[in-house]
């Protein structure tokens, strides 16, 4: 296949506030509960940006490893709009450059939930 640049995107509305969805995306134990134990073990969180509502995982189940990004936004009704992007990791060829939002987060002293 020649779709090396191709990524897939899924979007859905969740009947839960963004804070709660954030926990399900960012906390490894909760993430494993819906993503799967095997998937959780094979992925690595490379970006956790709560203010931007974004979690990026290095997805090592693909060869070569790809990137999975979750982005959340609050909906007008107080629910959460979730966007999942699964795309080839350009970062595996070019060294990963943190996005601006990530730098802000580090400066904000954000701590990772082990």
């Amino acid at each position: 296949m020649t779709d090396a640049d191709a990524g897939v995107t899924f979007e859905c509305d969740l009947d839960a506030p963004p804070e709660k969805v954030w926990r399900a995306l960012a906390e490894p134990a909760l993430r494993a509960a819906w993503l799967g134990e095997t998937e959780e073990r094979a992925c690595e969180a490379i970006e956790l940006a709560p203010e931007a509502g974004r979690v990026t995982l290095r997805w090592r189940l693909d060869q070569p490893a790809s990137l999975v990004t979750f982005e959340i936004d609050e909906t007008v009704s107080g629910g959460t709009h979730l966007t999942i992007t699964h795309e080839p990791a350009v970062a595996s060829v070019v060294p990963f450059t943190p996005r601006p939002a990530r730098t802000q987060m580090s400066a904000g002293g954000w701590r990772m939930a082990a």
Binding site: M1, V8, F10, C12, D15, W34, L61, D62, H86
Partner: protein, 105 residues
């Protein structure tokens, strides 16, 4: 670039799929494999060659005998393909919705 086409071709044939499934029990030679299938030994060899070409089966020689076994990494392109084609994420989204409901309690 790893291609998934040879895998689909290899596993698209029911007999070849049966050969592959039999190998999931462990390493075998052509005679062992033939014992469970209603096909000739040359036909088994031909199917094994196609599975090998697709990267699904590996062979090991011991003197004049050849043993075959499943190459687990051979299925990776297929797993990639499943991940890219929508079979994976919608199912995970359903599981996430279930979890969010359970988190209420």
């Amino acid at each position: 670039m790893i291609e998934s086409d040879p895998i689909f071709r290899a596993l698209g044939d029911p007999t070849r799929r049966a050969v592959y499934e039999r190998l999931s029990a462990g390493e075998m030679n052509v005679a062992n494999l033939k014992a469970g299938l209603a096909i000739s030994q040359p036909a088994v060899s031909q199917h094994l060659a196609a599975l090998k070409l697709a990267g699904l089966v590996r062979e090991r020689r011991e003197g004049r005998r050849t043993f075959y076994r499943i190459e687990p990494a051979g299925l990776h392109p297929l797993i990639d393909w499943l991940g890219r084609t929508g079979a994976f994420w919608p199912e995970r989204i359903d599981r996430l919705k279930d979890l969010l409901k359970r988190m209420d309690q």
